[in-house]
């Protein structure tokens, strides 16, 4: 972007601050964006930019930077912040103005960065964020005195309330950035003595401003006494996760039935409204059978994400990282790997990007290599389809959903696989240097309904966009490949067997026969490489074309229950625990490691693992059948 255009869009204001002080929440309110926010450190790992027009009509560009504790970076995400502020980033000018965002409840920690940024000489303002929370905690902060002691202006903000940024907006309007700020001072790395001196200065400023360090156990401390207890803590974590998976099956039934009913109705209407034609076949057996098979699982995905969002917003997830640190450390993983791995439960791509918060390149690479083993949401339709078809809908062990239990086991299998691979990587690497987990434990708070609604809406939007674009287009292509060439006159089997897809499936079936996959599964795995849930849609299309004119759009599960054996179903589940059926993940690994070597290694080891796991599962299941 050239300088003239930058100038036209207004001066650049950077939001800088410690992790989890609410920069992204402020950014979202200021710019109307919907960037991810969560109640833990390290959510933002890249620079993000958005436009702001102030009440008086000034145009400003707002830049959200990853959280940093100092300008001397220790992790790749902190480097982004330091590089932007110090003007070391290629093709990017230094910001014209800095809003130094601080957590008003934790100024003792936050002010050291403020002092460092002030030293740069850039025009700035300090935003005392979460000032409502500080007041509720009984902390009285004399903002005017604090501003006087710091030597920079201060505004109070509440990043989770739309009106909470008014003082900042008024300040930016009144005394905000000029298009061309002064030339900032040079920066040099601080010595330990200088850092200690800064910390003493922070304490002096706080004492002068009458900000008392909060003493005594807080509400969060009292909860943590139970939640982080060495015995009760892991038990609570296991129960929480277990209940989530129970709910995924127990609560989703009604909305799933409604969606299924809707798809069947549309299928029936199309069948009667359209004359017999190729187009009718495409719409019913290609698009509707494929898309309908995937769409049914939307309620389960939303329920899973509702729980994750609630736990995330309440502040429980960093506690889970703390509880699992010992387990992670025992296999050689950095404690910081927890958040990237947790993000991978949604999708491996943000998980792999979140590894930028990991200090050691070797630990970061190990985390990237195992991230796809975490069960992403795209696997859920595959798991739910097979579990729904083969695992009886019944209660066991005094009221537990058997289907939920199996789903929980599959998630555990993914985690166990990841830990085993990490252990092997660590052994091969002769052990990496130990990095203690230093993660801020944020205060607990009630989940913000707006955040939950935005999170769920984004999930819905993403899922429907995927269904409406990638899945529809791949289903149409699969239908075409499954329909040509036409079956010869007098052919006995369904036409698809004579088609291009049928022949590809037959050839692949030879490879997959030892693990119990039939040709229909083999065909579905090919488009399923684009994204895992596409395989479900593909199975819908393939079975719709295999069936003799019967509509299967709403009833794939009973059809596969009749066509597959239990060992085949279990083998396919085992395949999906490990297989790297996602090209976008491999592309992201290439981008993050800047090399083709690691995505190739990743694809190779994961396919080998998937084949081995399916083979063992299939053979054992056959032996017990």
């Amino acid at each position: 972007m050239n300088a003239a255009l930058d100038q036209a869009n207004g001066p650049m204001v950077a939001l800088v601050g410690n992790p989890n002080c609410g920069k992204t929440a402020l950014f979202n309110i200021l710019t109307g964006s919907r960037q991810k926010v969560a109640n833990y450190a390290g959510v933002t790992v890249e620079r993000k930019e958005g436009p702001l027009t102030t009440p008086s009509g000034r145009r400003i560009r707002i830049l959200d930077l990853p959280g940093a504790y100092s300008l001397d970076p220790m992790t790749p995400d902190e480097s982004v912040t330091a590089d932007v502020l110090l003007g070391r980033r290629d093709g990017e000018a230094r910001p014209d103005f800095v809003v130094c965002v601080t957590d008003a409840t934790n100024l003792r920690q936050n002010l050291r960065l403020v002092i460092s940024v002030k030293r740069l000489g850039l025009p700035m303002v300090v935003a005392l964020n979460m000032s409502d929370l500080a007041r509720r905690k009984g902390m009285s902060i004399d903002a005017a005195r604090l501003a006087q002691e710091l030597g920079v202006p201060i505004v109070e903000t509440v990043g989770v309330r739309p009106g909470g940024v008014k003082p900042l907006l008024e300040f930016l309007d009144r005394a905000g950035p000029a298009a061309a700020g002064p030339e900032p001072a040079a920066w040099r790395k601080q010595t330990p003595e200088e850092i200690a001196r800064d910390q003493r200065e922070v304490l002096r400023i706080l004492a002068a401003a009458g900000v008392e360090d909060f003493a005594g156990p807080t509400f969060s401390d009292r909860i943590d006494a139970v939640v982080l207890h060495p015995l009760a803590g892991p038990a609570i974590l296991a129960v929480v996760l277990f209940l989530v998976f129970q709910a995924v099956f127990a609560w989703a039934q009604l909305p799933m039935d409604l969606i299924k009913g809707g798809i069947t109705t549309i299928g029936g209407w199309l069948a009667t409204a359209l004359p017999a034609s190729l187009l009718k076949d495409l719409l019913i057996n290609g698009v509707l059978a494929g898309v309908g098979s995937v769409l049914v699982f939307l309620p389960q995905i939303l329920i899973l994400f509702l729980f994750i969002l609630v736990l995330e917003d309440a502040g429980y997830l960093p506690r889970a990282a703390f509880l699992l640190d010992r387990v992670m450390g025992s296999v050689g993983l950095s404690g910081r790997a927890f958040i990237p791995l947790l993000s991978s439960f949604a999708c491996a791509i943000p998980g792999i990007m979140a590894t930028r918060t990991i200090q050691s390149p070797r630990d970061r690479l190990a985390t990237i290599m195992i991230a796809p083993l975490m069960t992403c949401s795209a696997r859920l339709p595959v798991y739910a389809l097979i579990i729904g078809a083969f695992i009886p809908h019944e209660l066991v062990w005094g009221g537990l959903e058997l289907q939920g239990l199996v789903l929980f086991a599959l998630y555990v299998a993914g985690v166990a696989g990841a830990m085993s691979v990490a252990y092997v990587l660590n052994r091969r690497g002769r052990g990496s240097r130990f990095h203690a987990l230093m993660l801020e434990l944020p205060a607990y708070h009630w989940p913000n309904l707006r955040n939950l609604a935005i999170g769920l809406w984004q999930r819905l939007e993403i899922f429907l966009t995927r269904v409406g674009t990638i899945i529809v287009s791949l289903m149409v292509i699969l239908w075409a490949l499954s329909s040509v060439p036409l079956a010869p006159a007098g052919a006995a089997g369904p036409a698809i067997q004579y088609s291009i897809a049928g022949r590809i499936g037959a050839a692949l079936a030879v490879v997959f026969a030892p693990i119990g996959f039939n040709w229909q599964i083999a065909v579905a795995l090919v488009p399923g490489l684009a994204a895992r849930e596409v395989a479900v849609g593909a199975l819908g299309t393939v079975y719709a074309l295999s069936a003799t004119g019967k509509d299967v759009s709403g009833a794939l599960a009973p059809l596969i229950a009749r066509s597959w054996s239990l060992p085949t179903a279990l083998s396919l589940l085992a395949w999906y625990v490990f297989a790297p059926q996602c090209l976008s993940t491999l592309a992201t690994v290439k981008r993050e490691t800047n090399s083709w070597r690691y995505p190739v290694i990743m694809a190779g080891y994961l396919f080998a693992l998937a084949y081995a796991a399916s083979f063992i599962t299939y053979r054992i299941a056959l032996a017990f059948q």
């Binding site: 999708c347 995927r466 149409v476």
Partner: protein, 62 residues
């Protein structure tokens, strides 16, 4: 529906789907060219569309 219209409609739908799949999963250079054609910026490589908003929601600046 006449035979040729039926075939033409199916051909258009299949061709459009093929073009979209090529755009979505093809090389970044292709996405950039297509984006330039429509005057928008290309999606960053590796953006899956199923993430938690890790990438920019607005088109990235060139």
């Amino acid at each position: 529906m006449s035979g040729w219209l039926d075939h033409a409609l199916v051909f258009i739908v299949v061709a459009a789907s093929g073009a979209y799949a090529l755009y979505a999963f093809g090389p970044r250079a292709l996405r950039v060219r297509v984006a330039a054609l429509f005057g928008t910026a290309a999606r960053p490589a590796g953006r899956c569309g199923s993430c938690d908003g890790c990438g920019p929601r607005r088109p990235p600046r060139a």
